[in-house]
Amino acid sequence: MKTISLYQKGSHKWLCFGRDPDRDEKIIDTNQYLVMNNEQSIILEPGGIELFSQMLTSVLRYTSLDEITALFASHQDPDIISSLGLWDQCLPKAKLMSPAIWESFLAHFGMNNIQFEGISDEGSAFQLGNTSLQFIPAHYLQSPGNFNVYDKEAKILMSGDIGAALDDEDTPFFVENFDAHTSKMEFFHRRWMSSNKAKDDWIARVRKLDIEILAPQKGSLFKGEMVQKFLNWFERLDVGIAQNK
């Protein structure tokens, strides 16, 4: 599994893990994120069971199990959090931050030790070491209960499935040619994102944020001017089930 650093200032770091060459080809490639600050770490979108081994190996290069105080799952899908039952064995004191509506669904993955902390619909703040992360509502994009994670200091928005693309493992971590990249996103966004209204609400919300990197859970990340290009493209895109009949 490859690793790139997205941000580093003192003990405050963002790492992205992905493009796993050892991944079974039947499994989609996903991005996992580790945010660290002052001896505390949170794993965003820990991933599926099948890549748990590579993820555990990768995160231990940068942090220790004692310092991983929380996991975050934007929603309930297996590629996001089906590894929960395995993390549950190594992080007995950690919390799982996830939309409150998914608690009893997520427990199906195995959650005997990890404590569930549901995020209410309007979102909330999360203290990590000396910094604060914001859980930004992104409901119906694509899951009915869904959050992004925004870091004001690092100017990074972890956008979950928004901006996701199905890339090859040798594709660069960052989008370089936006127009070419849209072909990898269009079907997914039209088919999975269920509501134009929810999409417009989300765009209005995130346009108020200062974002340097928009980091989806699948595919290349958007940096600098690519962030605005993505928002403009998404704004124009008609999404929802009516478009896929």
Binding site: L56, T57, L65, L86
Partner: protein
């Protein structure tokens, strides 16, 4: 502790081993740069530092060896964490299967029993596989530690060679010796830590 927790302990310990070797690899990469700088220095120092040139080749060899060992251990470790994670899942399945209450029909094949036997067999195979693999991993760590003992010898010889070089280059050559010595100590500390994580499982 249940056997299932044992599987969890295995994948945690082995992931720790891989991360220690990753850190050792980073130091070995620094050592490789040191070796290249030392070679350039030896060339500039001329005939008085001719012996140093040979030493730099040896340092490069040690660095390469550590990087290769780290890569091998990493491959073994990732494969082991996968086996251990499978063991954990199989163990969990067996525990749940044990809780199934049913009455097998006399005239029908007891499919639960067949499943139970198959999974038990798979679990034993996984246990054997991981046991062999753990021994391999420990052997590889021990070999690398033995080979890295040479770093301290290299450091001493480097100092001797530095003392023979012209005065203008002595400080720089001694600094190379310090870096080799320090890299050896730090790499060994990571190997030792990796061994400790493995010894928990034995």
């Amino acid at each position: 502790m249940s056997k299932n927790n044992g599987a969890a302990e295995t994948f945690i310990a082995v992931a720790h081993v891989a991360s220690e070797l990753f850190k050792a690899q980073s130091i070995a990469e620094e050592l490789s740069i040191t070796s290249k700088n030392a070679r350039a220095l030896a060339v500039r120092a001329g005939s008085t530092a001719a012996g140093f040139n040979e030493i730099t080749r040896f340092i490069e060899g040690l660095s390469k060896l550590t990087i290769e060992a780290a890569s091998t251990v990493n491959t073994i470790a990732i494969s082991q964490t996968k086996i251990a994670a499978n063991m954990f899942r199989t163990g969990g399945f067996i525990e749940r299967l044990n809780r199934v209450k049913y009455e097998p029909k006399e005239d029908k094949v007891d499919t639960i029993k067949v499943t139970f036997e198959r999974v038990e067999k798979e679990k034993k195979q996984l246990e054997r596989k991981i046991s062999v693999s753990l021994r391999d991993l420990m052997d590889r760590l021990n070999e690398t530690t033995m080979e890295l003992r040479a770093t301290q010898v290299v450091s001493v010889v480097s100092r001797v060679e530095a003392s023979r070089a012209s005065e203008d280059f002595q400080d720089s050559l001694n600094s190379v010796a310090d870096k080799v010595s320090s890299a050896g100590v730090r790499i060994n500390a990571h190997l030792e830590s990796a061994r400790k994580h493995l010894s928990i499982l034995q």
